[in-house]
């Protein structure tokens, strides 16, 4: 019943945890990049008591500095909006991507503050041609509780290096899961309606404290 919820949460957590490390963009293989980000964010989160206590500012800062630079939020927004992206003006696209990005930051921050100390991540070997520009990186999060959690990423190699544009937790892709929400809202009240709804939600989340983990 609520398995999906765990799934999304874990996905967000894993996603947040795999925040990008502030390192120069090089020709690093995508799986190594994700691994480096994951390890760095997980270690940072575990070591920082404030983050574990749910200090909102610190968590958001961690997400912004270590995760978001390696996420192509615009592409993520475009994919989630699907066919409606093409009908939106560049200004609308920009605002939509910005609002979605903010929503993701809050979601990842919430997830990040739930990381437990014994969570470990292991990555599957990458079998891709160096010329491939779209890859899927697979990993698993193992914790003391329950089954291992699948955590997969989709990355695209752009002019600024590899960037994550979709994430999968326990079988559900973030883009696919948001597609329904986006298309319903756009059908009801247009792209502007969706932007307004996201903006309103972001205002709500800005005022809410992060849930402290039960450790």
């Amino acid at each position: 019943m609520k398995n999906i919820v765990t799934m999304i949460a874990t996905a967000s957590m894993a996603f947040a945890a795999h925040a990008v490390v502030a390192a120069p963009v090089g020709n690093e293989a995508p799986d190594l990049l994700v691994k480096r980000i994951s390890t760095d964010v997980l270690d940072t989160a575990k070591a920082d008591k404030d983050i574990q206590a749910g200090n909102k500012q610190k968590v958001v800062a961690l997400v912004e500095s270590k995760i978001l630079p390696f996420v192509d939020t615009e592409k993520m927004t475009a994919l989630a909006a699907g066919r409606f992206w093409r009908t939106a003006t560049p200004a609308q696209q920009q605002r939509l991507a910005a609002e979605f990005r903010t929503l993701l930051v809050f979601t990842y921050s919430g997830a990040l503050s739930q990381i437990k100390n014994d969570d470990k991540v292991e990555f599957k070997p990458l079998r891709a041609d160096p010329a491939d520009v779209d890859v899927e990186v697979r990993s698993q999060v193992t914790s003391s509780r329950g089954e291992p959690i699948t955590l997969n990423y989709r990355l695209n190699k752009g002019p600024q290096g590899w960037k994550i544009f979709d994430i999968n937790v326990l079988g559900a892709w973030l883009v696919e899961t948001y597609k329904g929400n986006f298309s319903s809202e756009i059908t009801k009240s247009g792209v502007d309606g969706l932007i307004a709804k996201l903006a309103e939600r972001n205002k709500q989340l800005a005022g809410k404290p992060l849930a402290a983990p039960a450790k």
Partner: protein
């Protein structure tokens, strides 16, 4: 078996009643896999009410008051019982290794783990599989059928709902006597499950614009993934590898990253012809 039949009949009755009173038929189909959306939303709203006023408060108290080792013990105890049925289903799907892992899990945890209170097998390297009869049927080719929200039990599909009586029979706890102990255990199990999902549910509340859709779309993906055991559409079955954007995102795959598409109002070059590599949409 009499208990199981009665239970399944009761389930059918409850579901029908809920359907008649709460939703009626769907009028607008936004998702082809959810033709009963009107009905499902009704049950979803009902479940939310039950959760808000009964299950969530109890689960919150449970989580905050009970010592964590007790909660872990409870969680492990019921988890151990499911390993037995998962083993049977793995074997029914011809997955020998996974099946034997579950058998071993159950054996080790029931004995050395003191009737399952301690999960020794997990840390020892035996992963937990959560196979059930619905997945077995899906594995052997039965399509999932429409999305269905069950009263109290939550998201499901037609196939998985039909398989429920089988799952109940396969659940060792169902056969526990006396009935009073069984019922108490069932309630505790429900509370434990809800408590383990409290953090996650608060995240979804923030993340989802429409919780019903969000949970539905996430659930259907998750369920399909469970039947396939995590295999996906990309060529590399279990390793990381090349991603076929067209297969994954269809015509929505943008031509170039970050290109504002409003510049050219011309329809995209690729017509809606499926590429040979595109697998059928997941309807397992």
């Amino acid at each position: 078996m009499k208990t199981t039949t009665t239970r399944s009949m009761r389930l059918v009755a409850v579901v029908t009643l809920a359907g008649l009173t709460l939703g009626g038929c769907a009028t607008t189909n936004s998702n082809p896999r959810d033709p009963l959306e009107g009905f499902n939303r009704g049950v979803f709203a009902f479940n939310d009410t039950v959760d808000k006023y009964a299950l969530k408060p109890v689960a919150t108290a449970y989580k905050n008051v009970l010592p964590s080792f007790v909660q872990t013990g409870v969680h492990n105890f019921f988890g151990n019982l499911t390993d037995a049925w998962s083993a049977a289903n793995n074997l029914l799907q011809g997955k020998g290794e996974a099946g034997m892992q579950d058998v071993t899990r159950f054996a080790i945890n029931s004995t050395f783990g003191i009737v399952g209170l301690i999960d020794i097998a997990g840390p020892a390297g035996l992963p937990k599989h959560n196979e059930d009869l619905g997945q077995t049927l899906g594995y052997w080719g039965m399509p999932s059928g429409p999305y269905l929200v069950l009263p109290i039990l939550g998201p499901s599909t037609l196939r998985d709902t039909a398989a429920l009586p089988g799952d109940w029979w396969g659940d060792i706890w169902t056969h526990k006597t006396p009935v009073s102990v069984r019922n108490t255990g069932t309630v505790i199990k429900a509370v434990d499950t809800r408590a383990s999902l409290l953090d996650a549910s608060s995240l979804v509340e923030g993340a989802a614009l429409d919780r019903y859709e969000f949970l539905r779309d996430g659930f259907l993906q998750r369920r399909d993934s469970q039947v396939r055991d995590g295999g996906s559409q990309s060529a590399a079955a279990s390793d990381s590898g090349k991603l076929d954007m067209k297969a994954a995102y269809g015509d929505d795959a943008p031509a170039a990253p970050g290109t504002p598409a409003a510049a050219t109002p011309v329809t995209p070059v690729t017509p809606a012809e499926p590429s040979p590599a595109t697998p059928a949409p997941v309807n397992k």
